[in-house]
């Protein structure tokens, strides 16, 4: 046993009956085995009375130390500050009355029910194990008024009281929630703000509805009573037990309703069958007698104070509720707009289903670190399907820049999805060796042949030239100094790989394309080099970019350096921040992108032809108009397609866009649907205002930093879904037509030309494939140096 304690909270009670003296005080602790996944962390509850005074002392100290984690703690900082658990405590409590242990990964969901502000009831939590076979767990009540760590934190919070912060009310359960959220993926459900799902599948997250909640509660209400009592058939409290559990749903309903109106809220409370029952039978002596029961009193008090309670609670949840309502309303009108914009005047066969719209528009479940870790088993092998992982990435993206560092290694297939941790370590070793061999090759090569020598020198010149002028607004590339820092800053100043927000530190005035470029660069700066470009690169990150490109040049000697490749490498290196790994990520990205850079331009031409056909099929009006503008060749898409929109979006947005493309979730050429979405979104202004080739080019060249990529991604997905439907619809129609005209029409009437149906286009057919389209450059000859 090497478990370490990372959380401890004292004065957590179970209430076996409604009599206060029956309450059992205890501790919640969470321990972790440093050699195992966070998912395997254990949560214990055990009663105080099972422990001796030494153990109690130990735990009370632990409560103060681990009972109030800071909200900004990360799972790593949690672990590093952890200390070894006094094992005797765990041994002593094993098997004692009511104590229990659950593994984090075995939990399905949790309820965090905040206390009433008026103090009528304690805050409580309910743990719902994943497998119904597990024994049901009692409700745990947090007696905040007697818990030292909670009281300390409350005091601290009151000192820094901010009347305008409308967050959740603080109580002991919040501390547990903070720690849990660092260990597992904890997601609040929309239907009940107190109900949280643990490591939920995307399916569950998307579809968890009021009905699910109700089903869940009725199914599990058999297992536990809301008061935490072991089931007691004798008690007449059947109704009341149910009542108390429904009370919570009413309360949550009310919380949501507060955004509506007070009147509505009151109506909601008064109309509830349980409230009506009490009111109707108020003069019934039996009921009145029943109401004298302390438990019933408690519930009544709940309602007497309901309005005060609600008024106060609503302060805290109003924002939440408002946001929820707003989200939903927005969602509704957004959906209507999308359906109008993209559904066109189509027959039912190819319109969007409710389910499709749900899936596409719900993009609020990013891949968090906790979620990512929950995907892997103890050997670091993926335990879910790649489809599920990609679903998360496609529909929610990767949560932070830091997590991308790991995820991109899989997305770019450096690591096989089914590899184990050991295998990946092995791969790292091999890749390092191979990289160094290639790097050594160009660093030491000499040429007999003058022309080869010229070629290589020209390649070096081109690479340096572009590295010097690429993404220089990004923090790490900005200063041409040996440490990459501005020369006047203190060298001792610590610098993190990523700043606090996890976003790259990029000049606000970024505008990397046009008139205003570089106005924020002080021309007097020491790092501003003379125009002739004859300055040497000192910034370590720029040196690495150039080295990677040079190594790639000998690794793939036929292609040569082509402008745009630096654009592709720079975000990868920014994220991966390791020369060897960035090189291999770049190699795999280039497998996909090499077709864009071919000497004869056939690959990019193919994509532009595909775009033209796709546009004809999906946006016929725009397609007609572009023809009139002499722009049917879609030349204005060239830059966007060549470097995957790198020049049109902010640096951090590009990371979000590319990782979605890399999933090949629908199509290996999803970038074309993104392009189509840009065309679709802009088609109205284009049709209404532009009528010349140059106007169209100018319009698209100036789009950078004006587009909302998330909206475009939603449109892209809907466009793909519609495209897929249209294609299969046409196929079905053609099959029908074939069977109508007899068994073998091509034999009888060989002269009927095949109609120009899009399903016959090999370009469009290829869009339905998830298989990577690869075109390699021809062998380089001496005169193909371009």
């Amino acid at each position: 046993m090497f478990s370490k304690i990372i959380f401890c909270k004292s004065k957590v009670f179970i209430h076996p009956s409604s009599v206060a003296t029956d309450n059992v005080s205890g501790y919640i602790i969470i321990t972790i085995d440093p050699n195992q996944s966070h998912q395997d962390a254990l949560l214990y509850w055990f009663p105080e009375n099972s422990l001796n005074s030494r153990e109690l002392d130990w735990l009370n100290r632990a409560d103060l130390k681990y009972g109030k984690p800071s909200a900004s703690a990360t799972s790593t900082s949690l672990i590093s500050s952890a200390e070894s658990m006094d094992d005797s405590i765990l041994m002593d409590t094993k098997g004692t009355y009511l104590s229990f242990t659950v593994k984090m990964s075995s939990l399905y969901s949790m309820e965090f029910r905040p206390p009433s502000t008026s103090g009528w009831w304690h805050g409580s939590i309910i743990l719902h194990p994943r497998s119904s076979g597990l024994e049901t767990l009692p409700v745990l009540f947090f007696h905040d008024d007697v818990c030292p760590s909670t009281k300390l934190k409350q005091k601290a919070l009151q000192k820094n009281f901010d009347p305008f912060s409308a967050g959740d009310i603080y109580w002991g359960g919040i501390d547990l929630q903070i720690v849990m959220s660092q260990l597992v993926d904890l997601q609040r459900t929309q239907v009940d703000p107190n109900f949280w799902l643990i490591n939920a599948s995307l399916e569950a997250l998307r579809n968890f509805s009021n009905k699910d909640l109700k089903d869940f509660r009725t199914n599990t209400s058999e297992g536990y009573t809301a008061s935490g009592k072991p089931k007691d058939k004798k008690s007449s409290a059947g109704f009341w037990d149910k009542w108390e559990s429904t009370k919570w749903s009413i309360m949550s309903g009310i919380a949501t309703a507060t955004a509506k109106s007070e009147e509505y809220m009151t109506k909601l409370v008064n109309n509830h069958p349980a409230v009506k029952f009490v009111e109707r039978n108020n003069d019934n002596p039996y009921v009145r007698n029943l109401l004298k029961n302390p438990k019933v009193q408690e519930i009544q008090n709940d309602f007497d104070s309901a309005r005060i309670y609600l008024a106060k609670w609503s302060l805290g949840v109003k924002e939440e509720a408002n946001k929820y309502k707003l989200d939903n309303q927005l969602n509704e009108s957004y959906r209507r707009m999308l359906t109008n914009d993209l559904g066109f005047d189509v027959d039912a066969d190819s319109s969007f289903t409710e389910e499709e719209l749900n899936r596409v528009t719900q993009r609020n479940f990013p891949l968090t670190r906790q979620k990512w870790e929950s995907f892997f088993d103890s050997q670091g092998r993926l335990a879910v399907t790649t489809r599920e992982v990609k679903d998360f990435i496609f529909h929610g993206g990767v949560d932070t820049m830091e997590l991308r560092q790991e995820v991109w290694m899989f997305l770019l297939e450096i690591y096989p999805w089914d590899s184990s941790k050991d295998e990946r370590d092995q791969i790292d070793e091999t890749l390092k060796e191979v990289y160094n061999t290639h790097k050594f090759q160009w660093m030491t090569q000499t040429f007999e042949d003058d022309q080869e020598d010229d070629y290589w020198k020209d390649q070096l010149f081109r690479i340096d030239k572009d590295v010097k002028r690429n993404d220089r607004h990004v923090d790490i590339y900005k200063y041409n100094t040996v440490n990459g820092e501005p020369e006047d800053t203190q060298p001792s100043e610590p610098r993190q790989a990523f700043d606090q927000s996890g976003e790259p530190n990029i000049e606000q005035t970024e505008d990397n394309n046009n008139n205003e470029v570089g106005d924020h660069f002080d021309e007097d700066d020491d790092d501003i080099e003379s125009i002739d470009g004859h300055w040497s690169i000192k910034n370590p990150h720029l040196i690495i970019l150039a080295d990677i490109l040079k190594t790639y040049n000998v690794f793939n000697p036929n292609l040569g350096y082509v402008q745009g490749m630096t654009d592709l490498l720079s975000p990868i290196y920014y994220i991966v921040r390791d020369e060897v790994k960035a090189f291999w990520c770049f190699v795999h990205f280039m497998d996909k992108m090499e077709r864009n850079f071919l000497r004869d331009q056939s690959g990019i031409r193919d994509q532009m032809l595909t775009m033209t056909e796709l546009c004809q099929l999906m946006l016929p009006q725009l397609s007609d108009h572009l023809n009139k503008c002499d722009s049917s060749n879609l030349f204005f898409c060239f830059r966007m397609l060549l470097v995957w929109f790198k020049r049109e979006f902010k640096f951090e947005d590009i990371c979000g866009i590319w990782e979605i493309f890399w999933t090949d979730y629908y199509s290996s050429q999803f970038q074309l649907f993104f392009m189509l979405a840009i065309l679709q979104k802009n088609s109205e202004p284009i049709i209404n205002n532009l009528n010349q080739f140059d106007q169209v080019i100018k319009y698209f060249n100036d789009l950078h930093n004006t587009m909302d990529w998330r909206d475009l991604m939603i449109r892209s997905e809907l466009l793909f879904i519609r495209f897929e439907k249209l294609m299969s619809l046409m196929e079905r129609k053609e099959e029908l037509a074939r069977s109508d005209t007899g068994p073998s029409p091509d034999l009888t009437s060989g002269d009927t030309p095949t109609p120009q149906l899009p399903i016959h286009s090999k370009h469009l057919q290829l869009l339905l494939s998830k298989k990577m389209v690869i075109s390699k450059e021809q062998t380089r000859t001496l005169d193909s140096i371009r």
């Binding site: 470029v517 125009i531 004859h534 402008q563 140059d694």
Partner: protein, 208 residues
């Protein structure tokens, strides 16, 4: 579409990557300079009102292009209708100077100009502000090249320090306007020819 835009002068800037095409365009149009222009991908243009010989006003459309040769094959659409082509090399880079001739040929092949012999080119040797030690293309060589290309005008410029940029573009504008008017006249002739043919046909059909 062949709609004539007589009042727009279309100028194309060509040359190897990194010679300063984008910088020259921005210096001329916006009088600005930055180190941070990324490598141009595709093509872009800026427009500027110009006074020529103090009595004519026109709108000049300056097209900036990618220097990477392989991108040219796709982007030739915007060569069409050009009134002047600016060839740029870097005085500190011999290779860029050697490429000038092929840039001109490339342009003539794709632009489909009416009379290649008289089409106006202007040659610019950029980065003249660089240290003399860095300059590798002699003025003599540049003058010889300009002469061999049909005595085209030659300017030594610096987009960074704005040396000669306005002067060069004044000349570019003048050549472009001249070319534009020649073309317009030729177009006028074509148009008349077309009418004549039409009339011929009519007479033929009448005599039937």
């Amino acid at each position: 579409m062949s709609t004539r835009k007589k009042n727009i002068l279309k100028v194309i800037i060509l040359g190897d990557s990194g010679v300063g095409k984008t910088s020259l365009m921005h210096r001329y149009v916006n009088d600005k300079y930055s180190q941070q222009y990324k490598a141009t991908i595709g093509a872009d243009f800026l427009t500027k009102e110009v006074n020529i010989d103090s009595d004519k006003v026109a709108t000049m459309q300056v097209w900036d292009t990618a220097g990477q040769e392989r991108f040219q094959s796709l982007g030739v659409a915007f060569y069409r209708g050009a009134d002047c082509c600016v060839l740029v090399y870097d005085v500190t880079n011999t290779k860029s100077f050697q490429s000038i001739k092929s840039w001109r040929d490339e342009f003539l092949v794709h632009a489909n100009v009416s009379s290649p012999e008289t089409f106006p080119f202007v040659l610019l040797g950029n980065k003249i502000d660089a240290d003399d030690s860095k300059k590798v293309v002699s003025n003599k060589d540049a003058q010889d090249l300009a002469a061999s290309l049909g005595n085209i005008p030659l300017f030594f410029t610096s987009a960074k320090t704005a040396i000669n940029v306005d002067t060069a573009f004044q000349e570019i504008a003048r050549s472009a306007l001249q070319q534009n008017q020649n073309d317009a006249d030729a177009f006028e002739d074509d148009f008349n020819d077309a009418i004549n043919i039409q009339l011929d046909n009519d007479t033929n059909s009448c005599s039937c």
